[in-house]
């Protein structure tokens, strides 16, 4: 009843269908892609470019690609097809080196299980139904098994020194341990920065500002070159551990600022309500403040996580054999020189799978936690 006139009897307005061509795919196309002659021209030009590029990429990557070469390194067939077809033979031939580096060839089932254990650990940790105290135990046991598998020396597995580890396990070790230690560290530092005690606050501010003020590369250099100079003669902490500590410290400083943003976004009333109920500082922090503050910063937290997962590849400059270094080394051999594109695409795909999974998980986590709030 849209017509209100004094004295007239209200007549219910009949239900009508929405006007045609304001919704549906054709209307969408018209509004967004063909709204005028300029946009029509741009649409057609871009469509032409995208389709032709796509066709030539499919030709290169699949139709003209070479998947294997005779003898393992007779790459003449690949060289003939250079620029016309991809030489995936380099992956077929070198994938074990790229994934596991210089780990003894016959023992490479061990790092393979390690990678699967890591992925299993991520999946289990991601499921809300495992968010219990037992999860900590699962982590400790899994990480211990991972150490056992990598080093060996027991149960008939030959000992493999850390210098020979390489590839994907190194990337996963650096980023998993890095974030597993950096995250709790960052929470403590963020709380410390808001502490009323001046000494604690000062230490946290200095730590964050100092670490944030230098590039990760220089921290890694310091860890690998300068740090041993300060150690007593004959004492040597292994290089991987030193790089690991540098990554933890660096990630901790960045994550601390993300967590602090969440702490500041929490309304003052929440702190006051917790105080008024008589909760102690740690009860208030663990039960009221952190659950809400961390929830608010899931997107920037995951952003930082993804960043650091990829930044572990910087250990390349201090000679640690991570996934990217292994890939680079795989194409040093003269027979395979010149097939970098294929190797880098392969490595990029691996990185993408992990990062994309993190991103999707954070989105679903956010959605789950928010539906419960409102």
């Amino acid at each position: 009843m849209s017509d209100i006139t004094a004295g007239s009897t209200p007549v219910p307005t009949a239900r009508r269908d929405a006007p045609i061509h304001t919704s549906g795919p054709i209307a969408w196309l018209r509004v967004n892609l063909f709204s005028g002659w300029v946009s029509t021209a741009v649409t057609l030009l871009l469509a032409y470019l995208i389709v032709t590029r796509l066709i030539s990429f499919v030709d290169w990557a699949f139709i003209n690609a070479i998947w294997a070469v005779p003898g393992g390194n007779q790459t003449q067939a690949c060289r003939d097809m250079k620029g016309i077809g991809a030489c995936w033979a380099v992956i077929t031939e070198k994938h074990r080196f790229i994934l596991f580096g210089t780990y003894p060839y016959d023992e490479q089932w061990r790092p393979l299980i390690v990678c699967l254990l890591f992925i299993g650990l991520y999946v289990v940790s991601a499921m809300r139904r495992f968010w219990r105290a037992e999860l900590g135990l699962i982590w400790i046991v899994t990480l211990a098994v991972i150490g056992l598998l990598m080093w060996g020396g027991v149960f008939g597995m030959p000992y493999v020194p850390q210098e020979r580890w390489g590839g994907l396990p190194i990337t996963l070790i650096l980023s998993t341990f890095g974030l597993a230690f950096a995250f709790p560290l960052s929470i403590l530092v963020a709380l410390g920065r808001r502490s009323k005690m001046p000494a604690i606050k000062m230490i946290c501010v200095v730590y964050v500002e100092l670490v944030r003020g230098v590039p990760l590369i220089s921290l890694l250099f310091m860890a690998s070159v300068m740090f041993p100079l300060f150690l007593p003669e004959g004492m040597n902490i292994d290089k991987l551990l030193r790089a690991q500590v540098a990554i933890i410290l660096f990630a901790g400083a960045y994550l601390a600022e993300v967590v602090r943003a969440g702490l500041q976004a929490l309304p003052k009333g929440q702190y006051e309500a917790a105080d008024a109920l008589g909760l102690s500082y740690w009860q208030k922090t663990l039960l009221i403040v952190l659950p809400q503050a961390l929830r608010m910063v899931i997107p920037p937290l995951v952003n930082t996580f993804i960043g650091f997962f990829k930044d572990t590849s910087l250990v390349l400059i201090i000679g640690i054999f991570d996934l990217l270094t292994a890939g680079k080394t795989a194409i040093v051999e003269p027979a395979w020189q010149g097939f970098g594109v294929e190797v880098y695409i392969f490595i990029a795909l691996i990185y993408f799978c992990f990062c994309f999974a993190m991103s999707r998980y954070s989105q679903s986590l956010e959605a789950q936690l928010n539906t419960r709030r409102r």
Partner: protein, 262 residues
């Protein structure tokens, strides 16, 4: 706990017992702003005090000093025989005995209604979970929310949230309840349900200090009305004295402004 609209609640103040709250020449500044000026006041056990006054008069600051959400700088505040000092142990003891209800409810949005109510009894009073839940359910029934306990605060209306906040404070079984403008953030149709809950609480003999502009509520339950302006107590007395024969111009002006609004 039914609250009949007009019948005044009989006074339950026990003047023979030691006072619940004593404020002795309390002073507080925010920077250079003198927000509490020589405020002295005694609240007896079981007494219901309504604090009113124009905005910025320091009434919220006053009751926030009683559980030390704000710190006073001069004077003494004694709650249930314990003086408020920097000593954290005495502060914890006082906060266990003093419940507070806020203008903006301040429920914990990540916890269910039931969890909101059982959190402090479990962690602060160390009550076993089952016992804390039974207690919470009994208070949630008193505030008429027993069927919503599995929901989250965001799913409730403002009036329901405020009643949960009252139940949450009661679950700590406090001796004193502080109300900081409990109905100011509510839509008009929800004010009554919260006031009814508070009248019911007054009926049970709880010591209450309530900052509010609800003069009907003050008339019905208050033993004493305290009028504050510019950080000092200007006048205090029974609701009848205060509303019918105000002695100061400031109170007369305030009452005329308040009543015009109703």
């Amino acid at each position: 706990m039914s609250a009949t609209a007009e019948a005044p609640v009989a006074s339950l103040a026990r003047t023979d017992a030691p006072p619940a709250i004593v404020l002795d020449k309390v002073n507080k500044w925010f920077g250079s702003l003198h927000v509490l000026r020589d405020v002295s006041m005694t609240v007896a056990n079981g007494e219901r005090v309504v604090v009113c006054g124009p905005s910025g008069s320091g009434k919220s600051t006053l009751i926030r000093c009683i559980n030390r959400l704000e710190q006073h700088q001069e004077g003494r505040i004694i709650v249930e025989g314990t003086e408020l000092t920097d000593d954290l142990r005495s502060l914890d003891a006082i906060r266990r005995e003093v419940g507070m209800v806020f203008q903006s409810f301040n429920l914990f949005p990540h916890l269910t209604i039931l969890e909101n109510c059982t959190l402090a009894p479990i962690w602060v009073r160390k009550t076993p979970k089952a016992e804390a839940e039974a207690l919470a359910m009994s208070y949630l029934e008193r505030v008429k929310i027993p069927e919503q306990v599995k929901k989250y605060p965001g799913q409730l209306s403002g009036g329901q949230q405020q009643r949960v906040a009252i139940a949450r404070a009661l679950c700590m079984q406090p001796k004193i309840m502080l109300f900081d403008e409990p109905t100011s953030a509510l839509d008009p149709e929800m004010i009554k349900e919260v006031l009814d809950t508070m009248v019911g609480l007054a009926d049970s003999g709880m010591t209450m200090v309530c900052v509010t502009h609800e003069m009907g509520f003050a008339r019905q339950v208050a033993d004493r009305v305290v009028f504050m302006d510019r950080g000092e107590i200007v006048e205090s007395g029974t609701p009848a004295e205060m509303f019918e024969t105000p002695k100061t111009d400031r109170l007369r002006l305030f009452l005329s402004q308040i009543l015009r609004g109703h």
